[in-house]
Symmetry: C2
Subunit: 362 residues, 2 copies
Amino acid sequence: MTLRARTLLGPGPSNPYPEAQAALGLPLLGHLDPLFLQVLDETSERLRQVFGTANRRTLPLSATGSAGMEAAFVNTVGPGDVVVVAVNGLFGQRMVEVASRCGAEVVAVEHEWGQPVDASRVLQAHPAPKLIAAVHAETSTGVLSDLGPLAAGKGDALLLADCVTSLGGVPVRLDEWGVDLAYSGSQKCLGVPPGLAPFTINDRAWERRIDKPQSWYLDLGLLGGYAGEAAGSGRTYHHTAPTGMVVALHAGLGRILDEGLDAVHARHAEAGRMLHAGLAELGLELFAAEGSRLPELTTVKVPDGVDSATVRAELLDRYDLEIGAGAGAYAASVWRIGLMGPNAAPGKVALVLAALKDVLGR
Amino acid sequence: MTLRARTLLGPGPSNPYPEAQAALGLPLLGHLDPLFLQVLDETSERLRQVFGTANRRTLPLSATGSAGMEAAFVNTVGPGDVVVVAVNGLFGQRMVEVASRCGAEVVAVEHEWGQPVDASRVLQAHPAPKLIAAVHAETSTGVLSDLGPLAAGKGDALLLADCVTSLGGVPVRLDEWGVDLAYSGSQKCLGVPPGLAPFTINDRAWERRIDKPQSWYLDLGLLGGYAGEAAGSGRTYHHTAPTGMVVALHAGLGRILDEGLDAVHARHAEAGRMLHAGLAELGLELFAAEGSRLPELTTVKVPDGVDSATVRAELLDRYDLEIGAGAGAYAASVWRIGLMGPNAAPGKVALVLAALKDVLGR
């Protein structure tokens, strides 16, 4: 196996924070070791802080972010339940698919890709849904949507937010906004390798959950006996937690909270601004709607006459630099540049701009 | 966080092979990086060798072993399908639960815990099941069951095997026996941290799979576009693979194959024999039926008048040594001692025997 140290500026995974990387080298602990359970409890507490919630049921699920999405739906939605999904990119589409597999009656509110969610259209789509779902930061388009208006107008519905690309990069304040449940992934702005899905659910959603979800692995009622629900008291074995990964998440979150959430968000914002300005200087056009652009994930239109894949391969081969292709219909016409976690830094912005300038011959 | 280097001689996770631990320190790769895809393909090939199969659809699933179980059922069993499950421990019981959540009509063939699966009873339980499921090495009881007779008599049914605790510890020869699909976990005899579920499915089972499983995350039809099915050709993004964990699994499997599968199995067998003999010398009684005892996971009866939890806590505190409690009804009356992966070694046997002798005052 040839080893290469890549700079990961795609849509994720990002290079991890050094604290998270170092934690993977620590001696492995058992999943019922009191030392590990303490780390797990602290991890839940740290997740509460980055999610902006007091939900006691906050825990890392033992799979990647997409399993977080599946956990959200299988635990709250059953056959015939009405679910309204705001679709403004690939991950909204995925929500429609996952909710459908739970037997839900799904009302998909389609948006043009690159645009933020239009809360009024979403809220008017159905008079009484059980659940409304939206993506906070669409990884496929680099668009940030405002969750506040959805929460304000949700009425009796539950509000579910996909925070995979937002958590740790831009402010997330679930309780202040009124989001009932949310999930994320470890490998983006949290700066931890992929493998865990941070998850949180409030009492309101908990009380209306499905009693026996179709997934045993993601059954929050059973998981609650091991983490979150039972924190500090007796634990029930459910499955073997990926202890090493949880220790890495604990360390990545510790780094973020030590730096300070506001400072971390400001660092992502500053890196994004630098990148957007630099791309404009190169004569490149951004894809996401102005005013809704994520600092941590930028979508750029591939210039006419340029082959997207050739450029990405050259960046990888010559610069050990990964950027992402577009998603869905924009696979070949858009690039995605991530500045996540430790990569939200001026040096990484300078690198990707210099490399693009060189490879594009600008 | 206090750091302790534990010797993990419970039912898993085990301490990883040093190669796997070291691999976690390597620079992280993206999940679509050609270098990573090469590692993924090689990992599938190495898994074929340890599973004893030529199945092209062999891959590590992005979650722990229990998700491997869920993947097996959701992809093969739907409402009304008849499933016969051999239940001789906790993981057989779990199979019943997971199959039930798929809507299957489950015929559970109960065995006394500590006994191996009685193939004739299982085969006579139903005239025409769609699927027969059994646990190869019951982690809850330390019992090995013979899969050959089940395969020989399965008729038109599919045969599913849980190889979580057997893979990498005792011989697994799926194709020779006639097992159609199987799953495992990374954290036991494969000597890799927890977080991945090695999985394999043959063409026979593939052709009868559920078209649209209730789980999107574990949908093998979709996963096949990324790994296994599409190996070497075009890849379709499904979810972000836990790249660091896959690189660690690749390294752990490499270590096992370098040592040689026969040598690895012999090492586990030898360590198990030493432990069983040593426990007898201490006057302790084994729980699993003679002739069906796993070398890599030994169940021992807690002596009368001894408090299981106190002994385990003392082993952990004084010796940094983890052994496991029993499972189910035997939680307090049985201990489980694992000798898995790198821990299948004379030094570890000597350690646990000496520590038990001391703590039990024998």
